[in-house]
């Protein structure tokens, strides 16, 4: 191999990602962000407003990190928080469908880190992994495929299209260019760093003797119901195997990801292994968004070879359909233009009603005046109205997903009625949009000045953009590399950038993308913890306002930590950290005293409470009962006694 071919191979291996992988990656990332938003929504009051346990003034007064960015910091009230959540959802959906993708990549990144940084006190490494992925993909064209942007570009490229142009061989081909950028290497390195340092930090006894997963499953805060069943029924040998398997997986993954040869095989292996590994973790323990965030990296590992393989695996024959439609209806034709482009597998053949010879003999021509007609490949079955649309959707990629709502009883009938209403008014709709309609000419396409050629200045500026983008990626690489070097213990002294510039430290701090990866290390936790509040109401009842919202069980009195608390990652981390954070105790105190506001029962007014930290040693391998149960008081409050009435004869 000569130098050029080596260079090309390296570029192909490390610096390029297929456009389809980016498109699917964008969809996966947006779904992850929507999932992240949805899991926060139930906690808006308790974590995102000043009626919660982390008021904005408290976290700004004693911030976890000196420099943080969050548009949620000014938000104090519930209505404000909900409005900002709605804004996040809107932007995430825009990213999902790929509308103005470049803009929404940036906006979504800012909103996502804002969501996370507002409650950084209860965040875990899942959000860091997610934010890191977003940071890298900021530099990649995620909207190049499977997006509204791509569709609009294709439609605009041929504004004068005719029905004959919709033949599969005449449709404009999709953008097949792979994206080439240092950011592709950044994604690989990010994954490699996560796995390598998670592996190299795991030096403790539990990882050496293979009991780590056993102990992790005895963490009642995070164990799932499946994990609970598994720890009690499956043998220790399995946990030992899985523990060692975890170490092997984490140590091998960097090599697999960065292997310079057999790219399709190694990446394919990484895709399968990574999905299986994090899927298994999510089944056994609840780590919040960590597992989905790691799985969101998967699409970016898919190579062109994988896409060719998918293409071969997709059955095309069974779902071939011929669609007869009213091409004289402007709005119908525009919809068909869009659908023809979405028909990636070219299963649909579009026939205009202006071509009467192409119609099946037994189809009356006036039928197409009322409805679209879909005929299957064998010309046996026919569908009209919304059923026809269900068939068209089914022929698109992931078609059953789009088609099934139109097949659900009830919705199907509703779809038929909506279709008929649209069909009756299609002339009016077409005219309203300035499109031709049934013989009524539409607004002629606006006269265009001769397309001005790109000016030399603009050409030059456009040519410089990739360079500046790559400079940006290189800066991010430097910033993250510097943080990796100082934040991870196994990095040799000589490689540590202890004197990194202040701006480099700030660049990591603002989005809170720290690169210290040491989950369950050096040892799996041998002890478990739980916070219990014993509050006394005005009518003498004992309640636990904290675990009522934070845990599955909130029964008093509590002698030991109950089985499977079912906490989500927010309450899990809050209960773990609040005992050692006295600056935030006042906020907890006020939140507990607002208990009757939340229950809307006057009798729930609290007159006294104690906050206890309950802990025990997890059962040793082969045992099922915890030991060494301890408790200590973290916080105490008693209602002040009313002022004594003035003594007789004395002025108050």
């Amino acid at each position: 191999m000569d130098r050029t071919s080596i260079r090309k191979a390296l570029v192909r291996t490390y610096l390029t990602i297929d456009g389809r992988s980016l498109g699917v990656g964008r969809v996966g990332l947006a779904l992850l962000m929507l999932l992240d938003l949805a899991r926060r929504a139930p906690h808006v009051r308790d974590f995102y407003t000043n009626a919660g346990v982390l008021p904005n003034h408290t976290v700004l007064w004693r911030p976890q990190v000196a420099r943080l960015f969050s548009v949620f910091f000014p938000v104090s009230l519930g209505q404000e928080a909900w409005l900002t959540f709605a804004l996040c959802a809107f932007c995430y959906v825009c990213l999902l469908v790929g509308w103005r993708t470049r803009l929404f990549q940036v906006v979504c990144f800012l909103l996502a880190i804002s969501l996370h940084n507002r409650i950084v006190f209860v965040e875990n490494w899942g959000t860091v992994a997610m934010d890191a992925l977003m940071a890298w993909t900021l530099f990649l064209p995620l909207g190049r495929r499977f997006s509204v942007d791509a569709l609009r570009t294709s439609l605009r490229a041929r504004p004068d299209e005719t029905p004959a142009d919709l033949a599969p061989e005449r449709l404009p081909p999709p953008d097949e260019r792979p994206a080439a950028s240092l950011a592709c290497l950044g994604i690989l390195l990010q994954l490699a760093v996560i796995y390598w340092f998670n592996f190299s930090h795991k030096t403790g006894q539990t990882w050496r003797d293979g009991t780590a997963i056993h102990y992790v499953l005895w963490q009642e805060r995070i164990v799932t119901s499946l994990g609970l069943w598994a720890r009690e029924h499956l043998p220790l040998a399995l946990w030992r195997t899985l523990t060692h398997g975890t170490l092997v997986f984490e140590s091998v993954m960097p090599a697999v990801l960065l292997c310079p040869v057999l790219r399709h095989w190694t990446r394919g292996l990484a895709v399968v292994a990574l999905t299986a590994f994090h899927g298994s973790i999510a089944l056994l323990i609840n780590l919040g968004v960590f597992s989905p965030a790691m799985i969101a990296y998967v699409p970016f590992l898919l190579t062109d070879g994988h896409w060719r393989l998918f293409g071969r695996l997709v059955p095309t024959r069974g779902r071939r359909r011929t669609v007869y439609y009213d091409a004289s209806c402007g709005v119908c034709f525009q919809i068909v233009r869009a659908l023809a482009r979405m028909d990636v597998y070219r299963r649909l053949t579009w026939v205009s009603n202006q071509d009467p010879e192409a119609l099946p003999a037994d189809v009356p021509p006036d039928l197409l005046e009322r409805t679209i007609l879909v005929v299957d490949g064998a010309r046996v079955r026919r569908w009209t109205r919304s059923d026809a649309f269900a068939q068209i959707f089914a022929a698109l990629p992931l078609g059953r997903l789009w088609a099934w709502p139109l097949l659900v009883p009830g919705v199907r009938q509703l779809g038929g009625v909506a279709y008929d209403a649209f069909a009756r008014n299609r002339t009016a709709i077409s005219t309203a949009f300035g499109l031709a309609a049934c013989g009524i000419p539409g607004a002629p396409p606006p006269r265009r000045a001769p397309e001005p050629g790109e000016t030399p200045l603009r050409t030059w500026a456009r040519a410089q953009l990739p360079l500046w983008r790559e400079v940006g990626v290189a800066l991010v690489m430097f910033v993250f590399a510097a943080d990796v070097s100082v934040a991870n213990v196994p990095v040799p002294e000589i490689l540590r950038m202890e004197r990194r510039p202040a701006w480099a430290a700030a660049a990591v701090a603002y989005p809170h993308i720290f690169q210290s990866w040491s989950m369950f290390s050096p040892d799996a936790p041998l002890r478990d913890y739980m916070l219990v509040v014993d509050a006394v109401t005005r009518d003498g009842r004992h309640v636990d306002p904290l675990n009522e919202v934070g845990s599955r069980v909130a029964v008093l009195p509590v002698d030991d930590i109950p089985k499977r608390l079912g906490q989500d990652s927010f309450w899990c981390d809050y209960e773990l950290r609040i005992p050692t954070m006295p600056a935030y105790h006042q906020a907890l105190l006020e939140w507990l005293l607002r208990y009757p506001e939340r229950t809307r029962r006057e009798r729930d007014t609290i007159v006294a409470f104690d906050v206890w930290l309950l802990e025990h040693a997890s059962p040793k391998p082969g045992e099922t009962e915890p030991s060494d149960v301890r408790r200590r008081r973290v916080l105490q409050w008693r209602e002040p006694a009313p002022a004594a009435p003035p003594a007789a004869g004395k002025r108050p």
């Binding site: 000043n50 408290t58 104090s76 005219t431 300035g434 001769p450 001005p452």
Partner: protein, 684 residues
């Protein structure tokens, strides 16, 4: 015909629906519109409606354009004023009002400020820069609609971050920005307007540049409820400021006398005037201020003689607030009130300006290289800015008769500007200065090119540009000396007809905008009735929560009672007596708040020169114990600011110092007293 077309006033700031209007005649359009409308329904009702619309809902787009420029300038002044007063001091956690303190005990339940995100001075500085960029874009009218919306966000953020320091000026400025956000401020005198015009008509020859038909600016009046809201806002402020002034000092005419004895806010001119301030002079000034304030609502809302009354209102507004500004420092209040004036200008005022300007018109002939694409584009812009048609463009390639002093060789290397009256020729940067001087407010634009030093520099820059004009043109894709470029492909494009769906959408958007204005107008009325003491009891009502929120978030506060019921007869000040580790007494507060480094707590020295922020902070902090910790921490950080370890503070007392202002005829304060409101370490 042109007048009738122009008469179709655009609703709520929609794009003008009529074709070009003859700006030279500027034909009154409303008569035709009224006549047409009158025939369609009950004539009287229609006529009444048209009169109401013309009087209260209509505004000339030129007034909006000037209003935008004035608003942007005031906003920039406000921004610089705040930055000068101290980004660190007021907008960061190293200052007197940390974000966590304000969020912990907010002065108002509902407030919005993006500056709460900023904890460090550099973060706040970035916020200031962003605000500055928005204001500058608004000033020049670039993407004006977007910038208007961003301006509202920026003003709200800047003001609501420090609500503890707010005064009436901040409210007024915010309200001005809010109401004008509903109006098309970019329709005239803006980059947007020039770009739209250049897009609409693409000239290809120098001769076409001299045909100004179609280049006139849009004079289609704008009709919107927001116009009424602006006038009501102003009338409201004056009315309640007048009726609340029922105290003794206003009745006896001693108010101005007492005001200039407020050492916190008095200007040097006020101090100078003190010995000369007799009761008679004070009466003249006090009562004329009161009279002006009382007359303003009538002048603003009178349904007849609109042109005259509005002109009087403008004069009253400018006179009154210039007077205020001479005597006392009220922050941005005076400027913000004056910022309403441009919106009171009527079409007749603009016609008057045009007549006056044309009277002094001196025409210039501009010989320029029309084959140079970039030069030609500059000439296209200038032709549009040349509102008084003083410039006549001639291509240097086809000059015809050349006046004395202008040779083809000269035209090969420079522009030549010939004064048609005197025959004087100006070239290079001097020529550009003459051209800029011929534009509206030309002295302003041409001045930099005339200053010694700058003039020579401009000539050097001009020569450098002239030498490279071909490569610059080619670089920008424009024609250059025979080489075709984009500029040569001139096509006259009629704007594409919007589709019916788009037209419906536009109408819906305009309707939604008017509904939003109506909602805010309802809020304004409700808040006015609720909060002003002069409103009769039967009009008082309990405000629903949504109204309270609509008042609080954009600071649409309508409590107008400045120096009312009485002018303040006592003066007060805050000083700190701090002891350093080496035993010195210092006053960290006065060092930044006033012009005296350590005035002591025995008396208030003359003219403290507090800015409006310290003025309000000093007045309010002694009664706001929840903010004491922030003040204490700020005082204890004194050595960090001075960067001298020996300035470490071991103890301090914060004092409030008060005195009674001297009665008319006297100049010495009386009843001096002082008390400690905060001590460190706390006293038992």
């Amino acid at each position: 015909m042109a007048g009738a077309r122009a008469g179709r006033a655009s609703r709520g700031g929609e794009a003008p629906v009529s074709g070009p209007v003859d700006a030279r005649t500027d034909t009154p359009a409303d008569a035709a519109a009224v006549a047409t409308a009158a025939g369609e329904g009950p004539a009287r009702w229609r006529a009444l409606r048209a009169t109401f619309e013309r009087t209260y809902l209509t505004i000339d787009p030129r007034s909006l354009g000037v209003g935008r420029i004035v608003l942007a300038l005031i906003l920039l002044f406000d921004l610089v004023h705040r930055a000068w007063a101290g980004i660190t001091l007021w907008y960061s956690n190293e200052g007197l009002l940390p974000n966590h303190t304000l969020l912990w005990r907010p002065p108002t339940q509902w407030m919005f400020s993006l500056f709460f995100m900023a904890s460090w001075p550099d973060e706040a500085f970035v916020g200031f820069v962003l605000c500055g960029l928005v204001y500058v874009a608004l000033l020049v009218g670039w993407r004006t609609r977007l910038m208007q919306a961003l301006t509202v966000v920026a003003v709200m953020s800047l003001h609501s971050r420090v609500p503890f320091l707010e005064n009436g000026g901040d409210w007024t400025l915010g309200e001005l920005a809010l109401w004008t956000a509903f109006l098309p401020l970019g329709r005239r005198f803006s980059v947007d307007a020039v770009r739209a015009s250049m897009h609409r008509r693409r000239e290809t020859t120098a001769a076409e540049l001299n045909d100004r038909a179609g280049l006139e600016g849009d004079v289609t009046p704008v009709v919107s409820l927001a116009v009424l809201a602006l006038v009501l806002q102003l009338a409201n402020a004056y009315f309640f400021n007048a009726v609340h002034k029922g105290g003794m000092t206003w009745r006896t005419g001693s108010a101005v006398h007492y005001v200039i004895f407020q050492d916190r806010m008095v200007t040097w001119f006020g101090v100078w005037l003190r010995p000369h301030m007799t009761l008679a002079l004070s009466r003249v000034l006090s009562w004329s201020a009161l009279f002006t304030e009382a007359c303003m609502p009538i002048l603003l809302l009178l349904p007849v003689y609109k042109v005259v009354t509005r002109r009087l209102a403008i004069l009253g507004c400018l006179g009154l607030h210039t007077g205020f500004q001479l005597f006392i420092n009220l922050g941005v209040f005076s400027l913000a009130m004056m910022g309403f004036s441009p919106y009171l200008l009527s079409r007749e005022d603009w016609q008057l300006f045009a007549r006056l300007a044309r009277r002094r018109a001196r025409r210039l002939t501009v010989y320029f290289d029309a084959g140079c694409g970039v030069c030609f584009q500059i000439a296209r812009v200038l032709a549009r800015l040349d509102r008084f048609e003083r410039l006549r463009f001639v291509s240097s390639a086809d000059p015809g008769f050349l006046p004395a002093g202008v040779t083809p060789e000269l035209l090969g290397s420079t522009i030549a500007v010939v004064d048609e009256a005197t025959g004087r020729v100006a070239t290079r940067a001097d020529g550009m200065a003459r051209i800029l001087g011929a534009l509206p407010l030309g002295v302003l634009w041409s001045l930099p090119l005339r200053l010694p030093g700058l003039r020579q520099l401009a000539n050097v820059v001009y020569d450098a540009f002239a030498r490279r004009r071909q490569s610059v043109s080619i670089g920008l894709g424009l024609a250059a000396c025979g080489l075709p470029g984009e500029g040569a492909a001139a096509v006259v494009l009629p704007p594409p007809e919007p589709t019916p769906a788009r037209q419906v959408l536009r109408r819906a958007a305009a309707g939604a905008r008017e509904v939003a204005v109506l909602l805010l107008l309802t809020t304004l009325v409700s808040e006015t009735l609720f909060i002003n003491a002069a409103v009769p009891k039967f009009l008082k009502h309990k405000q629903p929560s949504w109204i309270m929120q609509l008042v609080a978030y954009p600071r649409l506060i309508q409590a107008w009672s400045m120096f009312a019921a009485d002018a303040p007869m006592t003066d007060e000040s805050v000083v700190v007596d701090a002891v350093t580790v080496d035993g010195r007494h210092v006053d960290p507060y006065s060092e930044v708040a006033s012009r005296y480094r350590n005035p002591g707590h025995d008396r208030i020295p003359p003219r403290l020169d507090n800015d409006s922020f310290f003025f309000n902070y000093s007045s309010r902090i002694p009664f706001k114990p929840e903010y004491f910790v922030a003040l204490q921490e700020w005082i204890l950080r004194y050595p960090e600011r001075t960067r001298r370890p020996e300035d470490a503070i071991t103890k301090f007392d914060a004092w409030i110092v008060e005195d009674d202002s001297p009665p008319p005829g006297q100049t010495e304060e009386r009843n001096r007293k002082s008390r400690i409101f905060l001590s460190y370490p706390p006293k038992k």
